[in-house]
């Protein structure tokens, strides 16, 4: 597969790395694991198979071998040799065909899954790209114009032709509701912190990456502590640095941090973090851990009717 236009940030991403956070190895993996799973299912692949994650802008690819693809995400259009084709459906490709993927008008990341296997660097039981350390994926980096990713033809996925049921097609929006539970340091300094976090929507600032997102809105006062001993953080943890501007961690978040962890986005909602783009708005809503578990299990039950056994991360 040849990259004609790599766009802003296009990386190979699949399942996250697990079980290595004590070594400082973050999760990485698809920022929106639900869209990845839906795309992989269109080509008969397991939910965590490595696919192409495209961020915000348009991207163009050329295929040297026939294969089928599935595209899921906020991309405005998908064109094969200039002709519009549908998202959320298995599409087939002939050798030499050109694939244009449009920019995302709302939302942030689009996933291109292929029936052929993308050749990616394997480490620690995974193949996703971890950009900060230059590990995994395609030479540990984002794709550039002119890159050629070898496709393996030996392990073609089963031939399928699928179309995602309309009720399971994600609605890509710039307005998000993310449910949270209190973090370990939420109550330490001020009871008001979470109330204020959930009072009015926050906007995603320009400082947004796979590592984390600076949230613009009301500054939160009273929770700061300059001498908190570093402790574990996870994707979806909301930290409160001394500036009072909350910071939401993403899939590439480092494994430990020294800022108070005031809240945690629940696992059921965490895939939405991958669709937050600069300018998106987030309304945080507090819930309980019991309720969060019910929401997560209900979501899995709904998805498993189509995707089979699945988990989100």
């Amino acid at each position: 597969m040849e990259i004609l236009n790599a766009g802003l940030q296009t990386t190979l991403q699949g399942a996250p790395f697990t079980g290595h956070r004590h070594l400082g190895m973050p999760a990485a993996g698809a920022a929106d694991c639900l869209s990845l799973a839906l795309a992989n299912f269109l080509v008969g692949k397991p939910q965590g198979a490595v696919a192409v994650e495209i961020t915000l802008t348009k991207a163009t690819f050329r295929f040297s071998t026939p294969c089928s693809i599935g595209l899921v995400g906020p991309a405005e259009y998908i064109r094969i040799n200039g002709k519009d084709r549908p998202r959320h459906e298995t599409l087939t490709f002939a050798a030499g065909d050109m694939l244009d993927i449009g920019p995302g008008r709302t939302g942030c990341r689009t996933y291109l899954a292929l029936s052929a296997d993308l050749e990616a660097e394997s480490l620690l039981g995974g193949q996703s790209t971890y950009l900060a350390a230059g590990l995994g994926g395609f030479h540990g980096r984002a794709l550039r114009n002119g890159d050629i990713i070898p496709l393996s033809r030996t392990s073609l996925a089963p031939n399928v032709a699928r179309s995602t049921p309309s009720n399971l097609r994600p609605h890509y929006s710039d307005d998000h509701v993310l449910r949270i539970t209190p973090g370990p340091e939420a109550g330490k300094a001020s009871e008001e912190i979470l109330k204020n976090l959930c009072l009015r929507p926050y906007a995603v600032g320009a400082r947004a990456s796979r590592m984390g997102i600076a949230l613009e809105g009301a500054l939160l006062r009273g929770g700061q502590s300059s001498d908190m001993p570093s402790a574990a953080v996870f994707p979806g943890t909301i930290q409160l640095p001394p500036s009072g501007q909350p910071y939401l961690l993403g899939p590439d978040a480092q494994t430990t941090g020294g800022y108070p962890r005031i809240a945690q986005v629940i696992r059921a909602d965490r895939h939405l973090i991958g669709q937050l783009a600069p300018g998106s708005r987030i309304q945080f809503v507090e819930t309980t851990t019991e309720r969060a578990t019910d929401i997560y299990r209900d979501k899995l039950a709904l998805l498993s009717s189509w995707l089979g056994q699945i988990k989100l991360w």
């Binding site: 290595h20 480490l123 001993p229």
Partner: protein, 223 residues
């Protein structure tokens, strides 16, 4: 002897365990490794967090299981006996902040290597990047602060120092620690069965090497 109990805080798929004594961290980490539910066990400086899959176990049941495990025999403070010797070149452009650190310490730059190698360091935890180690010195140390503006690029292997903490950068990355030397050793190698050179609890001894030895060792690492 009544040790205060660990405190726990439950999120929907992870639990924070605050420990009364930071020396307990490695022992508790070992005790938890035997459990079935944890997909991650992450030490902090005076805490540990465990992550679980809430489709398989509810947060309350996970916390229950955790309490059982911690209520058993209190993990003995068994210090790790692992001693790792880290060769460091303290010279020239590998030590861009040597002058700053020496001034803070009130000793000439040439004395900093012997001062640094004389201390025992304990690996407090790994974090920031894969294999990046936070070390604590056995000595109380003068107030060496963070750089006013962080560097865009700190080379892998660089040794940083802030107060009584030292650190070793595992990958090229931005960073704000004053740098006093560099090791040719690779801190993280995903191809190895134990990818990280250091583990929490290890004792580290720094050993001063020449630039020539540094270059030779670095070449050896790359082969």
């Amino acid at each position: 002897m009544a040790e205060p109990d660990p405190t726990i805080h439950i999120c929907d798929d992870w639990i924070h365990i605050g420990l009364p004594d930071r020396k307990m961290v490695p022992a508790v980490q070992t005790a938890l490794t035997a459990g079935d539910h944890w997909t991650e066990i992450v030490p902090g400086l005076d805490s540990i967090a465990v992550q679980f899959d809430p489709a398989l176990i509810s947060p309350d049941d996970a916390a229950e299981s955790l309490r059982d495990r911690l209520a058993g025999k209190p993990p003995r403070l068994k210090e790790s006996e692992n001693i790792v010797v880290i060769p460091v070149c303290y010279e020239d452009n590998l030590a861009p902040d040597m002058k700053y650190v020496a001034e803070k310490l009130g000793i000439p730059p040439i004395s900093v290597p012997s001062w640094h190698t004389a201390q025992a360091h304990r690996v407090a935890m790994l974090g920031f990047m894969p294999g990046f180690a936070y070390l604590e010195s056995s000595e109380e140390i003068a107030d060496i602060g963070r750089l006013v503006s962080p560097r865009q690029l700190v080379k892998a292997g660089s040794i940083g120092i802030i107060g009584r903490q030292s650190c070793i950068y595992s990958f090229d990355s931005p960073g704000g620690w004053p740098i006093i030397g560099r090791t040719p050793l690779r801190l993280f190698d995903p191809a190895k069965p134990r990818p990280a050179l250091l583990s929490a609890g290890d004792t580290v001894r720094f050993e001063s090497i020449s630039r020539h030895a540094f270059d030779r060792l670095q070449q050896g690492q790359q082969q």
